[in-house]
């Protein structure tokens, strides 16, 4: 799956993730990959395709079917010098691992006064829009983001899929890495060898100063900020485009990382535009969108011309495939929210 040509080629989100892992495994013997079906099969989404073949069953292997077992074993491996990357097959199937994640993965470093850090990555395909049946489309980032001690990343572009996964593998802290499954087969005119170069040039600094955890302005605008992450960034961009036709210039901010949380980027964009809409797939109640909203009003109160509005999934269990379109934030719903931002004032 790796590409070494120098010309600008087309790369999928999936192959960017795959290459990030194989590059990290190549660079560091202590990086190991395991989970359900990640070996021979290459994962149900083929994100680990070829890793067992290339690195052997000791570096990429299938486990028995038990998610707490996978997470707990990873904790032990990280205690003993490895950098495990584990895959949860789908969002809702990570729930059996929550005790290990909340009580150990998140707390081990703090518990031991930093003597035992757990440099591990928990990869979770998440979100909907792929016609998945029950339990296959949850957006569960709020559970992890609320848990102190975990980092929570979620890339929205092919370049970030590569760069952020490498950053996640490099960090000494445990990272929950949310992969928007509807983007797996999305493509971009990105070249893996260029991404590698960017990573290498960044890496020297980033391991020390932490380029990670920074939000990105993915579209500049003046009138309103649309703040989003993961699978919703694409929708936010489309909405901004549509808004432009109505004469509204929307800036789009991709949070990229929920923890660390780039508060300054939020402040910069909202102080500039004076209005904000937060977009996320997860049910909105007690969510990451709630946090972004609360934080904006705390920090930018006097810059705001209207309340910060949220466009999120409804407060319901994720619906069946035929009904998911009604649940997910879409361009129209974002435009409706933009309309409500008290432009007459």
């Amino acid at each position: 799956m790796s590409t070494t040509t120098a010309t600008k080629t087309t790369t999928t989100f999936a192959s960017a993730l795959n290459t990030a892992m194989s590059d990290a495994m190549e660079a560091d013997n202590s990086v190991v990959v395991f989970g359900e079906d990640v070996g021979t099969l290459g994962g149900v989404f083929r994100i680990t395709d070829g890793l067992t073949k290339r690195f052997g069953t000791s570096r990429c292997f299938d486990t028995p079917l038990a998610e707490s077992g996978i997470a707990g074993t990873a904790v032990g491996m990280a205690i003993n010098g490895m950098r495990p990357i584990i895959e949860m097959q789908f969002d809702a199937f990570a729930y059996p691992a929550l005790e290990q994640i909340f009580s150990h993965v998140a707390k081990m470093a703090n518990r031991t006064r930093g003597r035992v850090r757990l440099p591990m990555v928990i990869r979770i395909p998440y979100g909907g829009g792929v016609g998945g049946v029950e339990h296959h489309c949850d957006s569960s980032e709020a559970y992890y983001a609320h848990t102190a001690g975990l980092k929570v990343f979620t890339p929205a572009t092919v370049a970030d899929a590569y760069l952020m996964l490498r950053e996640a593998i490099d960090t000494e802290d445990p990272v929950v890495f949310f992969e928007p499954k509807k983007l797996y087969w999305s493509k971009a005119a990105e070249d893996l060898s260029t991404l590698r170069e960017i990573y290498e040039s960044r890496a020297e600094d980033s391991r020390k100063i932490g380029a990670q955890g920074q939000a990105a302005v993915v579209r500049e605008g003046q009138d309103v900020s649309i703040i989003s992450y993961g699978p919703s960034v694409e929708t936010a961009l489309k909405a901004a485009e549509a808004a432009a036709e109505d004469g509204i210039s929307a800036e789009v901010l991709d949070m990229r990382s929920i923890v660390p949380f780039d508060e300054d980027a939020l402040v910069r964009t909202v102080e500039k535009t004076g209005r904000a809409v937060v977009v996320a797939e997860a049910q909105g109640f007690v969510s990451v969108a709630s946090e972004i909203t609360a934080r904006i009003q705390e920090r930018c109160f006097h810059s705001l011309a209207s309340p910060v509005l949220r466009v999120t999934g409804f407060d319901i269990p994720y619906p069946s495939p035929k009904l998911e379109e009604h649940h997910l934030p879409d361009v129209d719903r974002i435009l409706d929210a933009l309309d409500e931002l008290q432009w007459e004032d």
Binding site: L65, S68, D315, S320
Partner: protein
């Protein structure tokens, strides 16, 4: 049930004292260990050619004896087998035509599917998984209602209470605990309900499997845990899932009896399941039954089986096809003749064709229903969100709303 709180000698487990297992094993003249461990071989009654195996070679023995079910029962099972196969193959086709979102087929495992339904009384409960469509239909649930979830209309299309069939469970082995709770509730009310709970070989690795078997044994409730060991959990073979001599060997660790059966032998499956249900009901205790079978098709339509097994292996298992074996046996015994066989095939064809027709129609789901069942009474937030969607639907017009 209003016994005084037990304070047995600490450090000593129940089975060492007077226990149901102890009583049962004594009645068979064997030790509790012999009773709880599976027989040396899997129980098998028909050979791959459909010939009845001599009773001393069936794997049975003291405490592990399984009478052959009556001819009427076997014929009923065969009827369900034929329908089950037809349903599997019809749905497989529908999936390829894009009419179903997903369908985990039990092609090859129909003997287990049918057995799990036919061994139960009407008042009993069944707790199936995503793969157990044929069990659920064999239990009497309307096939169209079962397909509601696979078509992507709603999560569960039938009323679990109507036929006493749990919703087909996806999070692995979570349903085994529901089975324990249902049995426990019945026991508290003095009802002799048996619950049959199904899972796969891979699922036995989950923590909930362990907790369910242990709770059932400690609570002494009549749950039959029925593991369809079809050799794979998606791509992962059993040898990477467990190092146990057999999955049935897990039973003794909970103080229950375990047995292993040829899951492609309809006669043996039914015989072992019926006896397990009987023992569970009589003694109010759980049992574990492992059926060794094979998934003939891919895990689901999303799966690529060529990545982890070769055609040859699949071909070998074709020879053990449960349907063919049963047909040969019943025919040779004179229980089945051509006329009856034709009737059975015809009936199965009916089911398949009604499935096909129903899947062609696209029922109009009401989008607003997504708010209606979250709570018995909707919260203020859900009322507002429902109004929002309703308004959106009105603005975009009925066409949008219905799609």
């Amino acid at each position: 049930m209003d016994e005084p709180v037990t304070t047995a000698e600490p450090g000593h487990a129940k089975a060492e004292q007077a226990s149901r297992i102890f009583e049962a094993s004594r009645s068979f003249g064997i030790t509790p260990e012999q009773y709880m461990l599976p027989a040396q071989q899997q129980i098998q009654m028909l050979d791959p050619e459909g010939t009845l195996i001599p009773s001393d070679q069936q794997g049975t023995g003291p405490g592990h004896e399984y009478p052959i079910p009556e001819p009427e029962v076997l014929l009923k099972a065969y009827t369900a087998l034929v329908a089950g196969r037809r349903i599997n193959d019809q749905n497989y086709a529908l999936v390829r035509q894009g009419r179903l979102a997903v369908y985990p087929s039990s092609h090859g495992q129909e003997a287990c599917q049918v057995g799990a339904a036919l061994c139960l009384d009407a008042g009993d409960w069944l707790f199936p998984t995503y793969r157990d469509t044929v069990s659920v239909i064999s239990r009497g649930v309307d096939p169209l209602e079962v397909m509601v979830s696979f078509r992507g209309d709603w999560h569960c299309g039938y009323n679990p209470k109507e036929h006493r069939v749990g919703s087909m469970s996806t999070p692995l082995t979570t349903q085994l605990l529901h089975a324990v709770g249902v049995a426990h509730a019945a026991k508290l009310r003095g009802e002799d309900t048996v619950v049959l709970a199904m899972c796969g070989d891979g699922a036995t690795s989950e923590g909930d499997f362990h907790e369910a078997l242990n709770f059932a044994a400690v609570f002494e409730v009549p749950v039959v845990f029925f593991v369809q060991n079809n050799g794979y959990a998606i791509s992962v073979p059993l040898s990477s899932q467990s190092a146990a001599p057999s999955l049935a060997h897990k039973a003794i660790g909970y103080g229950m009896a375990g047995e292993r059966v040829d899951g492609n032998d309809m006669v043996a499956v039914l015989a072992t399941l019926r006896r397990a249900v009987h023992l569970a009901r009589e003694n109010s205790m759980p049992l574990l039954l492992e059926a060794v079978t094979y998934r003939m098709q891919a895990h689901t339509n999303a799966d690529d089986e060529t990545r982890y097994r070769d055609r040859e292996e699949v071909e070998q298992w074709k020879r053990k096809d449960p349907l063919l074996r049963m047909q040969r046996y019943l025919t040779s015994e004179g229980i089945l003749d051509d006329a009856v066989a034709a009737e059975i095939t015809e009936a199965a064809e009916q089911v398949a064709s009604s499935l096909r027709q129903a899947m062609t129609a696209e029922p109009a789901e009401n989008p607003l229903e997504i708010f209606d069942h979250v709570y018995a009474e909707p919260t203020a937030q859900l009322v507002a969100q429902r109004a929002q969607l309703s308004d959106e639907l009105q603005r975009t017009g009925p066409t949008q709303g219905e799609k």
